[in-house]
């Protein structure tokens, strides 16, 4: 089933390529229909997923090249499940929002479908080479999407995106090779293996763990992006077409956090435990820094982009909190951020399609002209601010409350990001949507079409559903998260903090929280 899930979009791309170029009117609807297929498969996967199970499910394995120990090995667990579902959901929606793409539309749809295969594959891969292949292959369609269908400085942004990520993953490849070789030297048969499950049994010295952790973490930190590796993101977002931004923020960034969670924590537990302060500092700096920088951005898209830096800082903090709540928060925040930021980018795109500008200063008082759009924007803005009852809160709250027992000082600083989020989001909303309606062009704006409403509504519904009943996801992630924590506890002397007197928390915690 998972192979099917990975290959369905690719098949779709093949189908699209067979559509004659002159049948332009067919390309986009067909693309949407074809990207709905993986959504269906993902739905089936979601339904047949066993709730109480922490290990990988629906595992499929085919040997690809025995001597190197590489195989086509797929599996899904609670950590990847939500991301896969999110991916398959965002594709039809962002394709549907791509009416504005008229130039080389067929190629666009194909690039999107290839991208989808890559993304799903990355989340499901249980072989490190397979993972790396998908991880890298994603760059090409995304690069094309930014570079061909992007804004004015698209080439600069696309190249920066590609190079930055490629440089990041270079050392990842070296580290992966190192693991396989290590497997060869430790296993009885002396065989190389890139199999994730096999590599989990390796005994890696502390020093080696540090190095390998560093290599993995660098690749993922750039993808997340963690401060100070984030500067490719605003450029990429500003230049990318709407669909590109949606997927970039919605899914691509999650590859980084997913990678940290999936590989760094389990393969290098010792290094994880000792490097927690480093990652936590970067995460917290990212939270505050991203928010501070977002406040004064003159470009709406850039503002949302920097907000991603801030939000993903929460995810990373949750991961390195190494507590059940923190990890669950990280997993669900991954999905949440995809929904809300995806929707925000869709909205900015819809605004851009109408006004051909993203500058905040060009807008003003739009709410009286386009109330529906304003309503959706405000809804998503509040979701992103972390309003309880909407999904963003669930993730942030779990992360904050979950990271306090282990990282009190960091959690306190991170919590301040919540304040800043309200400032940049609401200020932006105020300048764009409220006040008197300004400008002739703004006076002629049209509100959301039924189609646009249909694109945004499922996202809004999910934002609400996950905000009120996150159990739909948490029930499935909890066992996998526990499995990771168990592993860390077994392989290191780390103990997940249990509730207790605050004096103890502060004594054992790595910082000396406020007061």
């Amino acid at each position: 089933m998972l192979t099917l899930l990975v290959l369905t979009p690719l098949l779709g791309a093949v189908v699209i390529s067979l559509v004659p170029a002159r049948r332009r009117e067919l390309q986009l609807p067909l693309g949407i229909a074809l990207s709905a297929a993986p959504l269906g498969v993902a739905g089936a996967v979601f339904v047949s997923f066993e709730k109480g199970e922490g290990s990988f499910q629906m595992v499929e394995k085919m040997v690809w090249w025995e001597p190197w120990g590489i195989s086509w090995h797929l599996g899904v667990d609670g950590i990847s499940l939500g991301l896969v579902a999110l991916t398959t959901l965002l594709f039809p929606l962002s394709l549907a929002a791509s009416d504005a793409i008229t130039h080389r539309r067929k190629a666009f749809v194909m690039a999107m479908l290839v991208l989808e295969t890559g993304l799903i594959g990355t989340f499901l891969a249980l072989d490190l080479v397979l993972f790396f292949v998908f991880f890298e292959v994603i760059l090409v369609p995304m690069y094309l999407i930014i570079g061909i269908w992007g804004g004015e400085r698209r080439v600069y942004a696309a190249v920066k995106f590609f190079i930055y990520t490629a440089v990041g993953s270079a050392l990842l490849l070296a580290a992966i090779i190192a693991l396989a070789v290590m497997h060869a030297s430790q296993s009885v048969e002396g065989a190389l293996s890139f199999d994730y499950l096999a590599l989990l049994d390796l005994e890696i010295s502390s020093t080696a763990q540090m190095w390998l952790f560093g290599a993995f973490a660098l690749a993922f930190a750039i993808k997340v992006p963690l401060f100070p590796f984030h500067t490719w993101l605003p450029d990429a977002h500003v230049e990318a077409p709407t669909a590109g931004s949606v997927l970039l923020a919605g899914v691509l960034l999650k590859l980084g956090t997913y990678g940290l969670l999936r590989f760094n924590l389990t393969l290098f537990p010792e290094a994880t435990v000792s490097l927690v302060p480093v990652l936590a500092v970067l995460a917290v700096v990212g939270i505050i820094y991203g928010a501070v920088v977002a406040i004064v951005q003159p470009d709406l898209k850039k503002l949302v982009a920097y907000s991603s830096v801030s939000h993903l800082g929460f995810v990373v903090l949750g991961i390195f909190a190494l507590t059940s709540a923190g990890l669950q928060g990280a997993v669900i925040q991954n999905v949440n951020h995809g929904l809300t930021t995806g929707a925000l980018f869709l909205l900015v795109g819809m605004l851009y399609d109408r006004r051909h500008t993203k500058k905040i200063a060009d807008f003003g008082g739009l709410a009286s002209r386009v109330p529906m759009m304003a309503g959706f924007f405000l809804f998503m803005a509040f979701a992103s601010i972390g309003l309880p009852g909407l999904n963003g809160f669930v993730g942030e709250f779990l992360v904050l409350v979950g990271s306090f027992p282990s990282l009190p000082a960091y959690a306190v600083v991170a919590a301040f990001g919540v304040v800043l989020a309200a400032i940049y989001m609401l200020w932006a909303y105020q300048r764009v949507f409220t006040g008197p309606l300004t400008g002739m062009a703004n006076r002629k704006l049209v509100d959301l079409s039924p189609k646009e409403t249909a694109i945004l509504s499922p996202l809004a519904a999910l934002v609400l559903l996950l905000g009120l009943y996150p159990g739909i996801l948490l029930d499935r992630t909890a066992p996998s998260v526990e499995a990771i924590l168990d592993r860390i506890e077994q392989t290191t002397d780390y103990q997940v903090p249990s509730p207790g007197r605050l004096e103890d928390v502060f004594a054992s915690g790595s910082g000396d929280g406020e007061g």
């Binding site: 100070p228 500067t231 709540a325 309003l387 709250f397 779990l398 948490l474 007061g515």
Partner: protein, 633 residues
Amino acid sequence: MIELPTEALWLVIAFPLGGALLLHFAGRWLGEPLAGYLASAASLAALAVAAVAAVPFFTGEGHPSQSLLWEWMPAVGASFEISWDPLSALMTLVVTGVGSLIHIYSVGYMHGDPRFARFFTYLNLFTASMLTLVLAGNYAMLFVGWELVGLCSYLLISFWFTRPSAASAGKKAFVVNRIGDFGFLIALMLIFSTFGTLSYTGVFDRAAQELSGWAPTIIGLMLAAGAVGKSAQIPLYVWLPDAMEGPTPVSALIHAATMVTAGVYVIARSAPIFELAPVASGVVAAVGAITALWAATIAIGQSDIKRVLAYSTISQLGYMFLAVGATAYVAGVFHLMTHAFFKALLFLAAGSVIHAMGGRQDMEEMGGLRKAMPVTFVTMGVGVVAIAGIPPLAGFWSKDEILSVVFNQGGWYTALWLIGLITALLTAFYMFRQFVMVFLGKPRWPEGVTPHESPRSMTVPLVILAILSVAGGLVNTPFRLGLEHFLEPSFEGVRLGHPPEGVGLVLVLAALAVGAGVVGAAMAFFAYHRPPEAWRRFQSGFGKLWGWWENAYGVDDAYGAMLVTPGRRLSEQTAFGVDMKVVDGAVNGVAWLVQATGRLIRPAQSGLVRQYGLWFGLGLVALLIWILVRGVA
């Protein structure tokens, strides 16, 4: 009598929530006034359910109970669970009761507004949120309500969003509240890491054994930080005056009667924690007392009818803080309730005046409205007397109880008591000043304004609230401690502050409080029941002081200069300096470095064969030397 199980209490939230949803999707189709009636019905339905459910507490047979709706975030012990005890019952009744009246009032007040239905959507949503807050069975769900009321406050303050000031005020309210929430969040983190849960029962049952040293103090202070934001206390009160940009019913409901009291509610709710943290309690009391005085002085200098009430609200909230800080939880909650009545009444009456004056809010343009608006005149009069603490109206009982409990605490609380007493005098002064300026004297109406009494839908709620303001205080008098008895199950095991034992002392304290009120009222009457020139002379007698009051001590400007502007500059410098030049510059610098290296070695590629030969030869020699050195060594 029907026994309503706790399991059914979700209905209390569901009615207004359902109303909000219905109005959201069908509001425009329902139109005016149907949407308003529907929203009012939803609110009334919630009131009915709550009333029925609260009966056991009145009869003294009820016990606090919980009912789990659904699991929310099990990892942090957060779930949607309703906790039903006298405290939440009382809050529910106040919220739905006053709320319903304001709903009804709004049908008249919002008449003709193009976004009539949307207003009621928000109003219903607010009711649902506030009920979520008070019915929550754990801190997480409380926080849901806490933030959702903030959202509604934001939406309603900037309801007329085309006015830049309204849009800005809404944002300000939310952001300032968020600063308080920052503390609240930390409190939640502290609580979770101590107890492993956020549920009230889980926390309070074990509070005494798990919390020691400075832990309860810091938790209490952090909770108080959240409360300071929501209840507009120093230093976070600045959002509330601006919040008056919202429609007046909103000011009445959210920014007087209900939402702003959430802070008081939280502290009262967390009494078992504050019990262990006398320092935190003391801070709360001090903040409350200082805020009460501070805001009261500002209120004196205001000429906007709503701003007076806004600062008055801040001041009265200060009283409530003072009460809960002095562990007089019952007194605090009592004042919360009476304040809800008379402040809602005052706001609605002010709204009625504004309505009549065609949207004008400057009291200097009013005067002599007594005849034009008799109902409003009388009801507002009741409210003014009530807030001034003149017996036997509601305000007297609650305020007196607070002051006497604070006095009884002794020590430095005596100073707080004194502040409270002065505030009582000031309260009476600025309220009577307002009353006189608005209703008495000669009309100073601008041309074209012909005030008229408001429609029935507005006056009826005024009358009902006036009755409540008169009689509401009787639920808890020194003669019959009804409320204290009623709330007992909620404060089980908590030492409550009490008035002094001796009847004589009680009477002296009461007399002092009443005296302060009467003096203040009399001063206002004499200073302002005169032609405007005379007041101005009176005001200028205060010298610079009056300017400070008028200008609210310039706190907004100071915050602007000390926080907002530097913050923005910091943000700009980070974004356009650090981020673009340093961080991104480093990235581009690496790329530049690679290219520069290339340019550095490019001259080697001169195209000259002999030079190529030289490189070849040099490479050869270098290699041979290396081989030989290694080989021989």
